[in-house]
Symmetry: C2
Subunit: 466 residues, 2 copies
């Protein structure tokens, strides 16, 4: 009996899938956004997918895999787009989709199992007038555990900053990967150990996150002839302290008209837009604000007109964040994208400079957020992809102009993030995953402590070599 | 029959008070905070106080006063401290205390009569999990109409900015002072006409203001040996996007120990503090944040310890904003205060400079707020008053160092504010109060269009000359 057969025996009674086609499907995420990752990871697959129904079953899987030295890669909904959830060394995909209960709601707080879908959490919180502070644009499919382990922020970050900020996660219940898995309760400074660690050093079983007031947000699209007019408008609106919004995203022409197909009837070719979610009771103030801008024309608002007309339109947040790129990919599969930070205070100027420099090769898409207490913007620009060399050149151009890139064409924590080892996460991995079985290949510091980040080389996980 | 007698006849059936002692009492506010205003306004009194029970009765008063050319000065709770509500030309004090109904609450919005007490509005909104975005520290006594007509911001401004910001007032219902008073419904850009106009150009009958999520805020006092350590702590906390607070106010020694008598047992002599209101579910994150600061020690928190111990303690917000000065005045009636803006971005540096320059003559008190999208701070420093000359010198020192003063020792809109005429408010006064009967003497632009603001002279309302 080989190890896998023995493992299967130990998993008796659990929901285990070994049909290669289904296993391969559940071993993938949105890595194909990146032509680079597409090339590197396309063949990746697990051996088994296990879908535990309870915490006890999760522990059973961990124990069995530990005993047989089988890697475990946790999966929420598999909507990450850096191959985060892809099992580079095969083994087990631990699918948490069935651990999806919303456990408790109180003023300002929700406690839920890690596999709960974010939209489902809001649905449960809504009757009490509450909703999550922030969510990725994959709101309707992504799990809260996957968001915390693999995401960074999104809709609502204009008010609350990112997941990395103290206070945006209250506590986590985490299982370790040991002979006898421990259950840890983390809060405060400790949260950083496992949040945004791609599940490399623990399995998040339960989360406690803050809620805020829920509203029937109004979707608004404001049109501009010039992208930079839209950027100035967005920046001014983001700095209005009394006008409550949840989303502010300028998108440069030709993206809106050419890629937002279901909204196309509201848009002119060559028009840049700012995508907005505005609190319903803030609409009067918003309209007063908007009328100060000659260049701004309101193309669409979801709070007027006949409901039939709006039928079939996606919510505005599904035009924003990584959905902008997704809509682009559907029309033109040759494009890709980047992730840029335009640091405070001269972020608008930097956007202007990069826009002039790169023109239609890199149409702008910004997401305004709070970042360390200030309004600034991230960029998720579309890139008309020609080659990896040119892509790297575009990355260098940004960095040379003081705009750090969070490279979405890398599957490791370090290369996708701050290009350095997170010492806290690494130290915790030593404690919680001594055999290094959790999501192998994603934390360079673990796999190759001597890796030289300054050498400008891409890390290649040995397990990927075929 | 003189005009007053005729007026009284027209007011038949309304609640009219003419007992000189009571009338004088209802003609005063907290002007005595300022030794300057105390000298100028101490004798001011109306002839009558009228307390209408309905909008119709308000209109009846306005019509009658218009007919007999009698000035009308509106009064909420009379907690303003620039003599805003004091009838410089006598006449009628229009007391709106009885117009205090909370009319309608929906998600994010409350509609109330102008005389509703702010704490009462919150009490009504609470069952739905909502509360006002911001309130003055006179929360338990001040009216919402008085706040909008005479206030600027307060507890909550750390999240929402000030009343002047678009979106912090939704709509106002206003009566004009004409032969046939008109009822106007204002929203958007128009709101600026009557907000913070001291009731000089219209009577606010009803307000619609936004609500936000209500929490059982935790009062926290953090102690520091050095005031500037507290200022840095407060600034860092205010810039934490994920830690929800409602109030952040550093107060320099010796104020806390010497003036906060009921909290004295928690404070050391010579200790500076930061006063805080923290969302209950943010306490873990807050404590993690605070433990990064060696100089910070938590002196008091309202969420631990025995309730008996907390009995009789005022809420922390009643140590802050203008209550800091009030508590000081009770211990030492010779002090007074100033109102300073430390503009972004070098506000902390400016605070440091003024602190070094003025030492214990002007003990610091800051209120962190959002201002045009950035965190910055206002100052309400205590001033150990010696003479008007020295007070003016202290004001000049601030201005010379780039810290504008909003002079609380002036009873006019212009001198207390931006030292220039608000053209929109003036134009609206021409429409809405053609005879100039509303709160005479408070808008220089109306009384003396040629007044030269650059001449450094204090405006003296002729009606005040005895
Ligand atoms: C169209 C599109 C739009 C997107 N928009 C955004 C956005 O606005 N903001 C944003 O931050 N991201 C965004 N993303 C990325 C991704 O959707 C989010 O990060 C999402 O929250 C991931 O959730 P998931 O449940 O799909 O996680 P998965 O993709 O399943 O997992 C993400 C990572 O977390 C690990 N993981 C999952 N669950 C657990 C657990 N319980 N314990 C430990 N580790 C775990 C996985 O191993 C993997 O490394 C977007 C992606 C797409 C395709
Ligand atoms: C201890 C203390 C603390 C304070 N803290 C703060 C603070 O934190 N923030 C702040 O902004 N202020 C503060 N103030 C000032 C004052 O309390 C507030 O502005 C308060 O909101 C005034 O409300 P009121 O009902 O007492 O108004 P009043 O004092 O009665 O009136 C204020 C002004 O508005 C006019 N007015 C009142 N009602 C109407 C109406 N319905 N229509 C037209 N005009 C009207 C009056 O004529 C007057 O000019 C403080 C004052 C004190 C004494």
């Amino acid at each position: 009996m080989n190890d896998l057969a023995k493992l299967k025996k130990d998993l008796d009674g659990l929901e285990v899938e070994d049909n290669p086609q289904i296993v391969k499907q559940k071993s993938r995420d949105f890595f194909w956004y990146s032509p680079v990752l597409k090339r590197q990871l396309d063949h990746v697959t697990a051996d088994l997918v296990v879908t535990p129904k309870s915490e006890e079953e999760v522990i059973q899987v961990l124990k069995a895999c530990f005993a047989h030295d089988v890697p475990v890669t946790t999966r929420g909904a598999g909507t990450g787009n850096y191959g985060q959830a892809m099992p580079l060394s095969g083994g087990v995909v631990l699918n948490l989709a069935a651990l999806n209960e919303v456990l408790e709601i109180s003023p300002g707080v929700v406690r839920a199992q890690a596999g709960a879908i974010m939209a489902a959490i809001d649905e449960a919180a809504r009757p009490g007038g509450q909703e999550l502070r922030m969510h990725p644009s994959t709101y309707r499919t992504a799990t809260v555990g996957g968001f915390i382990a693999g995401g960074s922020g999104g809709v609502g970050s204009i008010n609350w900053g990112g997941l990395r900020d103290l206070g945006n996660i209250i506590s986590l219940k985490v299982a370790t990967m040991e002979a006898e898995p421990r259950i840890l309760h983390m809060k405060g400074e400790d949260l950083h150990k496992v949040s945004h660690a791609y599940g490399t050093n623990g399995i998040i079983l339960e989360v406690e996150v803050p809620l805020t007031a829920a509203y029937d947000w109004v979707d608004v699209i404001v049109g501009f002839d010039e992208f930079m007019d839209g950027v100035h408008f967005a920046d001014a609106l983001a700095n209005q302290d009394g006008i409550l919004t949840k989303e502010i995203a300028p998108v440069a022409a030709p993206v809106p008209h050419d890629y937002f197909l279901r909204h196309q009837k509201y848009l002119r070719k060559g028009q840049s837009v700012v995508l907005l979610m505005v609190a319903p009771f803030a609409m009067d103030a918003f309209l007063a604000f908007a009328s100060r801008f000659r260049a701004a024309s309101i193309c669409y608002r979801s709070d007027v007109g006949r409901p039939e007309e709006r039928k079939g339109l996606p919510p505005v947040y599904e035009l924003a964040w990584n959905h902008t790129t997704l809509r682009g990919l559907r029309v033109d599969p040759t494009i890709t994208y980047l992730q840029v930070l335009y640091p405070f205070p001269d972020y608008v100027e930097k956007v202007g400079r990069m826009t002039r420099l790169l023109g239609d090769e890199v149409p702008g898409h910004l997401e305004f957020v709070r970042f360390d207490g200030k309004i600034t913007c991230f960029g998720l620009p579309i890139v008309r992809y020609t080659s990896e060399e040119r892509l790297n050149e575009i990355i260098r151009l940004h960095e040379d102009h003081g705009c750090p890139i969070f490279n979405p064409h890398r599957y490791t924590l370090e290369e996708g993030g701050m290009k350095q080892t997170d010492a806290v996460q690494l130290a915790f991995k030593r404690e919680a995953d001594p055999k290094g079985l959790l999501n192998p290949g994603k934390m360079i510091a673990w796999e190759d402590p001597d890796f030289d980040f300054s050498a400008q080389k891409t890390y290649l996980f040995p397990g990927l070599a075929r």
